[in-house]
């Protein structure tokens, strides 16, 4: 928030998909800020544009309008994130890393998970050869994966282990913002708690900002400091988590909360 230095500043973001059935406005005039080390949740019904926002923040989707600025400590200055391209973009990507919903689908089935954790280290020049392998093993250990487990292929892991591997991979490039799209909804309740605690611990240790999408309002209440509510691509409500969840002002938020309490 304003008292803290922002890592992410989003202004007037808009994205329209052109489909055979006509244009779909997935994001309209989305603006918000995220402070260093802050934990922000994005909620909204299915199709409200959460994943599109995630992809825009990961520079996987080019917005039609608006700008996203990023100011990682590592870069030492404000980056025009949404208009970076080529080499510059590739280099800056290490500061923003994703964790997706389905851990199995987010790991290359043909490579051992340790290779996935090692790759960002090498690509971003953080370590090489044996040093990279050692760092990767340490990262895996941090998320609770033993070296023998990390040497396996994704299909040989449990869902929880796979999501840990995804987290280790995301942490490898020393990011300052993690963008998580329903990171626990593929897991059962026990695993959810483990992954969330892990996420918490890693984030706190690194002053890592988290932006996560979730349907699970209990989880949101537990993890987030602030919440954004999206409805058909627009932010209809934003505020501190207690305020938004306990005393929702917008009708749509109220409907979401009511639906969750059922």
């Amino acid at each position: 928030m304003s008292s803290r230095e922002p890592i992410l500043v989003v202004e007037g973001l808009a994205k329209t998909y052109r489909t055979a059935a006509g244009p779909v406005e997935a994001l309209r005039d989305v603006s918000f800020e995220l402070a260093r080390g802050e934990r922000l949740a994005v909620v909204g019904e299915s199709g409200s544009g959460k994943s599109t926002l995630v992809r825009a923040l990961l520079a996987l989707v080019r917005p039609d309008a608006g700008r996203v600025r990023l100011s990682p400590r590592g870069a030492g200055r404000m980056l025009e994130w949404s208009s970076l391209a080529g080499r510059e973009l590739a280099r800056a990507r290490r500061y923003v890393q994703p964790v997706f919903q389905d851990p199995m689908a987010s790991l290359n089935p043909r490579r051992p998970v340790i290779a996935a954790v090692e790759e960002p280290l090498v690509v971003h020049g953080l370590a090489r050869g044996d040093a990279a392998r050692a760092r990767a093993i340490a990262l895996c250990a941090e998320v609770g994966l033993e070296p023998a487990t990390a040497a396996r292929f994704p299909h040989e892991l449990s869902l929880g282990q796979a999501q840990r591997a995804c987290l280790a991979r995301a942490l490898a490039s020393e990011p300052e913002l993690l963008v998580l799209d329903e990171p626990t909804s593929a897991l059962d309740v026990g695993l959810q708690a483990q992954i969330v605690n892990l996420l918490f611990a890693s984030a706190r240790a690194r002053e890592l900002a988290l932006l996560f999408v979730s349907h699970d309002l209990d989880l949101v209440g537990h993890v987030a400091e602030r919440v954004l509510v999206l409805e058909r691509g627009r932010i209809v409500e934003a505020g501190a988590v207690e305020q938004v969840l306990d005393a929702p002002r917008h009708e749509h938020t109220r409907a979401l909360v009511r639906a969750w309490q059922l």
Binding site: P109, R110, P120
Partner: protein, 365 residues
């Protein structure tokens, strides 16, 4: 929005010697089943093999004498029951008058039958063994088919990948339309069209029939290679374009699925170079269903060779089968069909092997 990866839907092929034995036995069973089926079909087909005894191809006016025909029918058991005929064909005992003494034959020239990989002799030219003729024919068909397959892959894969990368662009749409058009053009039509355009009646750029020029014997090494290439060009094109269109479509689909997957998204988000994302992460996953495609493509191409070789008058297996059918030469028809069946089964086995080799889930199971 999670993309269900189709690869995960595959069951894991069981490992171990028992599974191998089972699949080998199954294939032998299928092979014998095919032999019974083809045997019944050609014997049920109208036409009498003895009519063309001692008669050369295309020489329709000449007809063998009644005596010769009767001798021929007796020698080949053509008046015996179908079961007896099949057992005779299957071997290892020759049931014909000149066959095994246990079954009343003279034993002078017994043949081993199918179980000994003995395809017998041609009806029309009794001195020629079908196996040796088949070997000569395979030496034409196999290289042609191999070139066609390799060419199809070499062109289709980059094309499919390029389309997937530019999905929805003008390039992609134009290419997809063209490929679809290619895929729906019948091979005989394309062959005739190409012959009209490039042959003597059109531009006269290429020879149309056969594999060699009539004076090829006098050519040097380079000239005869060039001559062969010029003769083979149109047949190879006809054998390639359909497979090319098919493989390119499959490549495009598999690549689009891979490029839409979360692990590719994550790879992009990691800041990898685009070529590394496309080839190392997406393609390495997309390529594996494409390779298994090769196994099922091969038999289709072997089947297509009947048409291509007949039209271009190439002395391959396909044409051999065609001639065999025309003359009701049961031994030739059986041999060519069974060799095709064998290739089909080998192709499928190859698919399985590639599948196991390229999929870590199977390999380590």
């Amino acid at each position: 929005m999670v993309q269900g990866s189709s690869q995960r839907a595959f069951g894991v092929a069981g490992g171990g010697a028992r599974a191998l034995a089972r699949s080998v036995l199954t294939r032998i069973g299928v092979f014998l089943g095919v032999s019974v089926l083809v045997f019944c079909v050609i014997h049920a087909a109208p036409g009498d093999p003895s009519l063309s005894v001692g008669v050369d191809v295309g020489d329709a006016v000449a007809v063998a004498s009644d005596g010769a025909r009767a001798r021929f029918r007796a020698e080949h058991l053509l008046d015996a029951s179908l079961v007896r005929q099949y057992l005779h064909y299957l071997g290892p005992f020759d049931l014909s008058p000149r066959g095994h003494p246990w079954f009343g034959g003279t034993g002078e020239d017994p043949w081993g039958g199918l179980v000994c990989f003995d395809f017998g002799h041609e009806f029309r030219r009794p001195t020629i063994s079908v196996s040796s003729e088949l070997a000569k024919r395979l030496a034409v068909t196999v290289p042609l088919t191999a070139v066609a397959v390799l060419l199809a892959y070499a062109l289709a894969v980059p094309l499919g990948v390029a389309c997937a990368r530019r999905r929805g662009s003008a390039f992609d749409r134009a290419t997809s339309t063209l490929l679809l058009a290619c895929f729906s053009v019948p091979a005989y039509w394309a062959a005739l069209l190409l012959m009209l355009v490039f042959g003597a009646r059109g531009l006269d750029w290429l020879p149309m029939l056969g594999l060699h020029d009539k004076d090829a014997a006098e050519f040097g090494a380079f000239a005869s290679a060039l001559d062969l290439a010029r003769h083979a060009l149109l047949p190879v094109v006809v054998m390639t374009y359909g497979a090319l269109a098919y493989i390119a479509r499959q490549t495009r689909g598999a690549m689009i699925e891979a490029l839409e997957s979360d692990y590719v998204r994550a790879a992009r988000a990691r800041g990898l170079a685009e070529t590394r994302v496309v080839w190392r992460h997406a393609f390495s996953n997309a390529v594996f269903p494409l390779l298994t495609l090769a196994g099922s493509l091969l038999p289709a191409l072997v089947g297509g060779s009947v048409l291509v070789e007949s039209i271009f008058e190439l002395p391959g297996v396909g044409r051999y089968a065609y001639e065999g059918f025309l003359q009701r030469d049961y031994n030739v028809v059986m041999a060519t069909t069974l060799v095709s069946a064998l290739m089909t089964l080998a192709g499928l086995a190859l698919s399985d092997a590639l599948y196991a080799w390229f999929d870590p889930r199977v390999r380590r199971a």
